[in-house]
Amino acid sequence: MDHGLISLIGMALSILVPLVSAAITIIICGTAMAGVGTEKPEILSRLIITVVLGEALAIYGLLIAFMLLSKIPDIATMENANKALIAGIIIAVATIFAGAGISYCGSSLIGATAERPETFSSNVIGVVLSEALAIYGLLIAFMIIGQI
């Protein structure tokens, strides 16, 4: 396959998959928030963290895609094209699982906080640790791009 096409596929993966992950996360956590917001609107300001962390996944994808886009004119060898593809795959897979973590833990956090607000500080850990997964993927993807 042409190395230009491979690097473009990498870039497309790095933006599209995080977008879908972010969308699914926001759909799940956003609807859960709307549900508890009707009962206890005072806790919504704390719960917004779930939706914003979900949205951050799309921004990580955007960053990698943006960096790949600026590198595409310099990609002349197959090796560099593969690096671009791998960077795209890393951020894509990382955000899929980070998104899954935030969705599951986030919706449970929202339900649990509505019932017992004092459990928030312990339960939020699941959400933020899931989000940390995406950061790890982002750092490695980023370092790979640095080598192109």
Binding site: I48, I49, A56, Y60, L62, S121, L139, F142
Partner: protein, 631 residues
């Protein structure tokens, strides 16, 4: 914070609670949760449901009276209530008697009569302006006049109903029956009737208006006799008394009792202990046993947060949203007020956008002093109290904007200013988008400093709580954290990890393995061997993952820069020169970036504090001190 333990006679309990409630410095402990300790000796003190029901009953009666008089108790000035030594039952009986004596009924009778008259006049459908009203004079007592008026009104109502004046269908039906039976001309009969009906309507309406005038005069005379202001004040006093008694009864649910005595425990701030004991002694005439003691080792005393300056309100909200600080802990609000803007500024580094933040913050801070916060909506209130936080974040963004050379993105308008270099860590002097690895190292350094601060605070907390066996643990942790960072920097990063274990094995043992072993030993001594093993594994994992997590400072900083760069490219900005045409585009870009990126960066700053930083020293398991006070 001290704990009061009080034993009093059953008869004095109401007076004691009433007196402590006046002081408003005592938080009663729910003894029902501790009943296991006293099994067989003490039982829950059950407040008679009769007293509670009576309270609710009296309160609703008072509310109804307010409604009848057309008064709103919230709008009336507050009243002083004398302290009494009576029991709840005695107070409630007194209130009931007083309520029955109040002349509320006379007022309500007048209002009811007036509304009945108005209804009837409306049903008759007569224009009242043309009617004449006689001058009224009466010399009988007001009560008799009202009875007469009521009788006459009932008579008029009855007549109007039977003759069909208030119900035209009756009239029409009657004429139709007549027309069929006596074969008369319906049209002529109707015309005759119309005349009669109009006359009778006028007659009744005139009569009614006179009655109304009489009632109004009666009302005026009642108002003269008994002033409305006096009644409303009396009602308000009664309402306050019953409200207090209800709270006094409810709070006693937390007490326990033996056959004749009541036992309760309560938290009191140290400065108020003497006063609280005095109050108990005075209310019981000395027939009580009161002791005070500090909280037990594992007992959670409620926390009183020292009031922070108003510009820290937003930071206080951020800390308390995670959890309340424990009693005796270092208050994290003041430290957070410094670190929060710094971390935000690193991710949102931009001179131009920082300046906009300062302007927005100044406007919000100005508005906050003009607008009543209670009346503002939820989001508006949050924004208004965050005015000063916006200013601090703006200042920090400007500072880091200069360091990273950002002015509405990497426009080349400002050149990065270097603040120096510590080993491989560059503090400023580079553009993050051009040299991301330097930015990553800078982010990790900031993370290590931030976490070190958290560990120092943990050390202070352990000392404050007299946990001397655990106190060295944060110091060893700090040793591990800074040691690992040194190791990483010294051997040129993680890519040379094999050298760590070869030439650097001694250094590795001294900087990583030794502190971990010490943590294991000290935690093991304090809490048991297995806890020690678990904790040291946790410390190792946390040191690694939490420091790595600060890599997001780089990631989000780059994203911020990249998003701004996009609009700079679209606008055709080159080498710090902004063409005139680019300004609208830059403005749109700035608004978008400030809203989307601002929110994301804010949440990430919050998350770094809540998870990575707070996990070192702030559990958020404190309970706010809520003394028993009348509301």
């Amino acid at each position: 914070m001290r704990k009061l333990k009080v034993i009093i006679f059953e008869d004095d309990v109401d007076a004691v609670v009433r007196s402590l409630g006046e002081a408003g410095t005592v938080q009663f402990i729910d003894m029902r949760e501790k009943l296991e300790e006293w099994k067989g000796v003490l039982v829950p003190h059950v407040v008679s449901t009769e007293a509670l029901t009576k309270c609710s009953d009296l309160l609703s009666k008072i509310e109804v009276s307010f409604g009848k008089l057309g008064l709103k108790p919230e709008e009336l000035p507050s009243v002083e209530i004398p302290i009494t030594k009576e029991s709840i039952e005695e107070v409630l009986a007194r209130v009931e008697r007083k309520l029955a004596e109040l002349p509320v009924e006379k007022f309500t009778k007048c209002s009811a009569l007036i509304s009945r008259i108005d209804q009837l006049i409306e049903a008759l459908g007569v224009e009242t302006e043309e009617l004449e009203i006689e001058e009224v004079t009466w010399k009988k007592p007001v009560e008799d006049v009202l009875v007469e008026i009521e009788n006459e009104l009932s008579e008029i109502e009855k007549k109007a109903e039977t003759t069909g004046l208030t119900n035209r269908q009756v009239l029409v039906d009657r004429i139709k029956t007549l027309a069929v039976r006596e074969e008369i001309n319906v049209g002529r009969k109707l015309a005759e009737l119309r005349k009669i009906v109009i006359e009778s309507e006028r007659f009744f309406a005139e009569r009614l208006l006179n009655l109304k005038k009489n009632v109004e005069m009666a009302r005026a005379s009642i108002e003269e006799e008994t002033k409305l202001g006096d009644i409303s004040e009396d009602l308000l006093t009664l309402r306050e008394i019953v409200g207090k008694e209800k709270q006094i009864a409810e709070v006693q649910e937390k007490f326990v009792r033996s056959t004749k005595t009541i036992y309760f425990e309560a938290w009191v701030p140290e400065s108020n202990v003497k006063e609280a004991i005095e109050r108990v002694k005075k209310a019981t005439d000395g027939n009580s046993i009161v002791t005070d003691e500090p909280p037990a080792r594992d007992e959670k005393a409620p926390t009183i947060l020292k009031s922070c300056p108003s510009y820290m309100t937003a930071f206080e909200k951020l800390v308390c949203a995670f959890g309340y600080p424990c009693s005796g802990d270092v208050n994290p609000i003041r430290v957070l007020a410094i670190t929060f803007p710094i971390l935000f500024g690193i991710m949102f580094a931009d001179v131009g956008q920082g300046a906009i933040f300062i302007v927005i913050g100044a406007i919000l801070a100005f508005l906050r002093r003009r607008v009543k916060l209670e009346e503002a909506g939820d989001i508006t209130r949050y924004l208004l109290i965050s005015g000063e936080m916006f200013i601090l974040m703006g200042i920090s963004a400007i500072f880091f904007g200069f360091i990273f050379g950002e002015f509405f993105g990497p426009s080349g308008f400002i050149h990065p200013i270097s603040l120096g270099r510590i080993g491989p860590f560059y503090i400023g002097g580079f553009e993050p988008t051009q040299e991301p690895m330097k930015m990553l190292r800078f982010a990790i350094l900031v993370g290590a400093v931030h976490l070190s601060l958290g560990l120092i605070l943990r050390f202070i907390n352990e000392i404050r709580h007299h946990h001397y066996k655990l106190a060295p643990v944060p110091i060893y942790w700090l040793w591990l954290l800074l040691g690992s960072l040194f190791l990483w920097a010294y051997w040129g990063g993680i890519s040379n990890i094999t050298r760590w274990f070869a030439e650097g094995s001694l250094m590795l043992a001294g900087l990583v393995i030794l502190p971990l072993l010490l943590i294991l030993v000290f935690t093991g001594i304090a809490e048991g061997f297995m806890e020690g093993v678990g904790f040291s594994v946790e410390v190792f994992a946390e040191t690694l993952s939490h420091t790595m997590s600060y890599g997001r400072l780089m990631a989000l900083g780059l994203i911020h820069s990249a998003m701004n760069y996009l609009f700079l490219v679209l606008g055709g900005v080159e080498h710090g020169h902004f063409p005139l045409g680019s300004i609208p585009l830059i403005a749109i870009g700035t608004i978008l970036v400030m809203i989307i990126e601002g929110l994301v960066v804010f949440v990430h700053t919050l998350r770094l504090h809540w998870v990575e930083w707070f996990s070192k020293f702030h559990t958020g398991e404190g309970i706010p001190f809520k003394p028993f006070k009348y509301t």
